[in-house]
Amino acid sequence: MSLTADDVNKIAYLARLGIDAEDTESYAKDLSGMLDLVAQMSTVNTDNVAPMAHPLDQVQRLRIDQVNEENQRKTFQAIAPQVEAGLYLVPKVIE
């Protein structure tokens, strides 16, 4: 499996991840190497094997739908890059 610099740019955009233009080729090489490694998985037939998500096959626990957390907006916003009037600020999204 070989990825091109173009592929890397597409994937990086999906991940909203900036990578320097001069590094694209080396990412393409490293990622292709990783995918070659991963391709070894196809050497074994897994048609009748159930995928394993939790080592103890535990399912997600449910709880009663009641409030158990208090609002900590002030604490959490104290470490935010930019807030105003209790809101997180980002560049304008809607004109």
Partner: protein, 483 residues
Amino acid sequence: MHTKTITQLVKGLRAGDYSSQELTQSYLARIKQHQALNSFITVTDEQAMAAAKQADARLASGNAPLLTGIPIAHKDIFCTQGVRTSCGSKMLDNFIAPYNATVVDKFNAAGTVTLGKLNMDEFAMGSSNETSFYGAVHNPWANNTVPGGSSGGSAAAVAARLIPAATGTDTGGSIRQPAALCGITGLKPTYGRVSRYGMIAYASSLDQGGPMTQTAEDAALMLQVMAGFDTKDSTSVEREVPDYSAGLNNSLKGLKIGLPKEFFDEGLNSDMAAAIETAVNEYKKLGAEVVEVSMPNLKLAIPAYYVIAPAECSANLSRMDGVRFGHRCTEPADLNDLYIRSRGEGFGTEVKRRILVGTYALSEGYYDAYYIKAQKIRRLISDDFNKALEQVDVIMGPVSPTPAFGLGEKTSDPIEMYLADIYTIAINLAGLPAMSIPAGFINEKPVGLQIIGNYFAEAKLLNVAHQYQQVTDWHQQTPQGFE
């Protein structure tokens, strides 16, 4: 007193040989003296001295919990309220955690004194501690070699006796491999045994916190504090916590040890094979029997891991977006630019590689071929272990194919670095508990013996490790310059 174990320090504190404040001061001085190791990212002197003062008061009152006043430090992946929690990344260099991880809360309640936060590979992605934003950690046994990773700061600090014990986390070997390379004792518990709440997630279905100590006896004391069900972690397992120290002295007569033949094939360095054989022979003298077992799917562990871990990390790290916390780029043109540049500037190369692979594996049309396929292989690997553990009590083998390698030696070839985790990764995929204990030296560099047990058999592993430490002294050796 810096070479003493927790078990010895507990006695000394209670006998009044020294106070927690004296202990804390003495360890803080050592941390400062050996700053060049780069094992700490943050040292919390003031908070530590205040906690030690409290501990002394509690000790004087006569009803203090066992570990009251014992200095420890946390891997910088555990959130500590009011203290920077960087996860080894520029992304979180300015992140002051607004809450404590459950593990941190439990240690605070147990009365331990936190001296600071330990260096690690960025977001726990690495096997050499060289991906840290704060620079590589040096191995105290050989300054120009790596301490292992990702809990490299924890391992180096315990090995150099800068702290008696530390916490670590293990997603693919990140407790066991640095423990092996630095000559200390490390335990990765069963998946679900220790709460992951407030432990910054790398690969959620594999991550597990555990203790890093000088001895198995100390690891039992640390795990006693860490283990337990937590409603705040949806994958935490509701199961009683046994007394991990109670069975340490049980005899190993009749213990069945399985040696997987795939662990000892041509990939293993011959000196390492000989060192492991010597350790196993020691167990035979203690009355254990050795049986060959087989893990036919072991070779697929690394391929499956490099789908599952990157896929989960690409999802977990999407929360670092420059909006609510962490690094934000200057003057973003629009929202996309804010995301792309904040993440591009905040993450290092190895983290980016894994996010990219994970994003690719989870992208439209590839999910079944990669993630589901990897989860199926995970089941096959787990079945191999379960089959072997029906025949034997524990499985033994190497932790790492070689002792500590040189700083910079493997950084140019990420795949080569990944392949070195062959003996540890499969255990995370299966979710089993495993330990690394000091078992000798190759060219004056420590060797680790891996002991793998059945689900929730941590007490058994600790017993097996402790008995070995009663007849060997590898775990008591201190690197030159740190005696």
